[in-house]
């Protein structure tokens, strides 16, 4: 059974088709890059998997089951925006995650927060945007999930932060789990990818093993992507 399967997914917004016949299978234990330019449907697809949008038609199966409590237990999702209640402190936020997620590793989260030199009693609203994003990444990666879905984790960050984010991802995902990373910044991330999925104008254009694609097309993923979409 696949970890995640999308079957003939369509999504319309205001009569505009945003996703067209998405078919996708995500196996266990892989890091997958969901690559595409902005506005091509990456976030829409991710939000459908996370129950933040409802598909116009089609089916999404997670571990063979449709979206629901069980799928939410095993998916750990990092959205593009900060979703924390800004009036809470870090400590309260940790308690919140502990309250709702059985698989949340508080110890691990506390250690990672300490590594960032963050005081546990700091209010979220008092932290910089960058710090809030890092905290959110820590919370997401501190869950022992089966599928991590990270939406544009590298959007607009400096190289040092980029390294921090990639390290945190690589350090913390467990071996049976898969990670889906959506990004338009391919060169920053392609080294850690097992598989790549190209998405353009709401359609999946290509899905392949990363190294095989490099070998076949004789170039970096970034270059192949640029060649294909001329940007």
């Amino acid at each position: 059974m696949e970890l995640l399967e999308c079957i003939h997914i369509y999504k319309d917004y205001d009569k505009k088709q945003v996703l067209k016949d998405i078919n996708l299978k995500i196996p266990r234990g892989k890091i997958i890059g969901l690559l595409g330019k902005n506005g091509m449907g990456k976030t829409t697809l991710i939000k459908l998997i996370n129950d933040l949008l409802t598909p116009t038609s089609g089916k999404i199966l997670i571990n063979g089951e449709s979206i629901g409590i069980n799928s939410k237990k095993i998916i750990s999702y990092l959205p593009e925006r900060t979703y924390l209640d800004k009036s809470m402190t870090i400590k309260e936020t940790l308690k919140y995650f502990e309250d709702f997620y059985d698989n949340f590793d508080t110890k691990k989260a506390k250690k990672l927060i300490k590594d960032l030199d963050l005081e546990i009693d700091t209010k979220i609203s008092k932290m910089s945007k960058g710090m809030q994003e890092k905290l959110q990444l820590i919370l997401v990666m501190s869950r022992n999930a089966l599928l991590y879905i990270l939406d544009e984790p590298l959007g607009g960050v400096d190289p040092a932060t980029r390294d921090y984010i990639l390290d945190t991802i690589l350090n913390n995902f467990n071996e049976d789990a898969s990670v889906i990373i959506s990004t338009h910044l391919i060169s920053d991330i392609e080294r850690i990818l097992d598989e790549v999925i190209f998405i353009d104008k709401g359609k999946i254009i290509l899905a392949s093993d990363a190294d095989k694609l490099r070998e076949k097309e004789n170039g970096s993923i970034d270059e192949i992507f640029r060649r294909m979409f001329k940007c």
């Binding site: 917004y13 205001d14 939000k47 996370n50 129950d51 933040l52 949008l53 409802t54 629901g68 409590i69 069980n70 939410k72 237990k73 998916i75 999702y77 959205p79 925006r81 900060t82 979703y83 924390l84 209640d85 009036s87 919140y96 309250d99 709702f100 997620y101």
Partner: protein, 265 residues
Amino acid sequence: MLGKCLKYDLKYIYKVLIVFYLIDIVFAIFTRILFTFDNSFMSHVLFLIASGTTISFMFSIIINNLMRVWARFVKNLYGDESYLTHTLPISKSIIYNSKFLSSIITMATSILVILLCVVIAYYSKENLEILKSTLQFFANSLNSTTIKVILTAFFVIFLEFTTILQAGFTGILLGYRENNLKMAKSIIYGFLNYLFVVVISVLIIYIIGLFNPNIMALFNSNPNNTITVDVVKTALTLGISLYIIFISIYYYIDIKIFKKGVNVL
């Protein structure tokens, strides 16, 4: 899980509401103290100020309660925070029930605090006597004491605001199904929902009135046409049952809409 959800919903709403409660209670106590003072001009002015503040804070409590409940609803289910709320491993009905219960619980405490402030500020034998004589007519004939009548009145106020809260929830749920102007449409839908409640209530009472001339008296502005005891009694029972029916209908509709899933932008 409902308990945990409720904990966070209540925490959010009470965070500010509690402050309003405390301020109102403090002013109620001031009012009380100044009331018992001598009858000098200064203390009378101060009494009026304290009394006015106490009463205006009662309104603030209600408004703040409504606003915070709705703000929590929108922020938590459709704003940035919704990205976390909807990905928590809990069922949609638990998420909704928590919002529903938190709205009822906070409104109940708000009404109780207001009642408490009324008692602190104004309760006295003389005032009660004045009230009694005003309410005498109803109270005696309703076979209950003045205090019971007052409590019933507060219960009706509580139901009224709870209905407003639910009409608002349904408005938000409908408004946020639209593709644009979600907030504005929510307000319009919410307002229409409440209007619907009022119109339907009046209509129902009117229809009943067609068969019950006593009730019809409610629609008659002729001063000679006195409202009888039975009318008040029936109207109160009718009102309370209508509120409960409306709250249940909105609850049912809300759960239905909410379970269909959201589209968070």
